[in-house]
Subunit: 266 residues, 2 copies
Amino acid sequence: MTEAERSALMALAGELADAAGTAALHHFRTADLGADSKLSDAFDPVTAADREAEDAMRAILRQQRPNDAVLGEEMGHQPGSSGLTWVLDPVDGTRGFLAGTPTWGVLVAVSDATGPLYGIIDQPYIGERFMGGFGTARMRGPRGETKLATRPARPLAEAILLTTYPELGTAEETRAFHNVAARARLTRYGMDCYAYALIAAGQIDLVIEADLQPHDIHAPIAVIEAAGGIVTDWRGGPARNGGRVIAAANRAVHAEALDLLAPAGD
Amino acid sequence: MTEAERSALMALAGELADAAGTAALHHFRTADLGADSKLSDAFDPVTAADREAEDAMRAILRQQRPNDAVLGEEMGHQPGSSGLTWVLDPVDGTRGFLAGTPTWGVLVAVSDATGPLYGIIDQPYIGERFMGGFGTARMRGPRGETKLATRPARPLAEAILLTTYPELGTAEETRAFHNVAARARLTRYGMDCYAYALIAAGQIDLVIEADLQPHDIHAPIAVIEAAGGIVTDWRGGPARNGGRVIAAANRAVHAEALDLLAPAGD
């Protein structure tokens, strides 16, 4: 891939995140949001935000990259012929969105058969964008634009661990997580995809989750690896298919946490 | 109190929040933050943020309101003679601050013997300020300025409940909380003082916490009550002394949750 092709893909990823963010924000913290909706409803304002945001991204891709595949949360897989797939989560963290917390985000990744090449984690309410891949790792936010770099190695006993819910998935998965949490310096909950951004930004050491979909993790993989971190499944293998995922600021803290998770990973 | 006196107090509260936010942001997400600090250390960058932010507020108060009392998290109680007390938490949610999450806030309240009269919950990284009391309930944020109003009544089964940690305090307190959580539509964690702002903004229904200090709750009481909500202890009495606190969008959901908490409140 030429430098020009990479630049074009990065610019397009930004355009997709812009479009999705605008569509999702239109529904964020609206007065009726949640008033009549239930998490189990097939259609509610959160779903509307999700669909409209994914629609906006797919419309751009149809026009500009008709030969690329698209894998999106709401509308499934659209095959392509270019070898590239856009992996999209229009509103990652729909429950956070529903509660009005600025912890949800738009996830955009462009991937090939080896995994994510470039990704964006975008929180449009705060106005923060975390970008990584193709040799770059940067963030733009309320205080301007800076490089992203994960934290240097420190023991798990000094590490900060984030996840979204204290109950990760199965009882075994939850037990494995709390094995790690019990040894970490600080465990916090509720951050949705924003937790992955905080690893890339050098603020925390670990995110551990279970039961993820590919669209949940492609963009975080790209951003975190570009910033110097590592993202795998609980056995140390590739995380791009989702499932049980551990993201770490560096190999040392990754290895220490993996030892505690591995029994559940078998 | 005259209208002019109220306006002066509101303007001064804003000035205090500005000064504290600037001081705290100076330390937020700095590269060294957390690198050498431990939660148990007497002095670390989080403590520096806390102290400098409270110093900044106390310096303004000494000059402009020398006869008012001050109750601050870091520097304790400074008696006064006016009957008014400024209740200050320079960085509420120091663990969120340490993890880089924009869930911490500056809390400023001006109170008399009856409780908080006016309060501000400020999240300076996002640039959001929630203000309530003296007949006003407003927020200012990335999308401009709007009125604050809590949600209309809905059953607990449709309510959104927030708290910071799944372990609230004692085992009995944690059990009581999970009694309510088990019946709510959605429970989320990790929001620090931002959770109280979300009640006032009409996004969620309940916040339940234990082991609070007066400086944690005076500003939320002012903002939430001004927006139409209710804040009490777990027995339905005043919450201004801290301890076990429940904040609710309306009396109906407050009553339903209180019934489930009350056994622990005795």
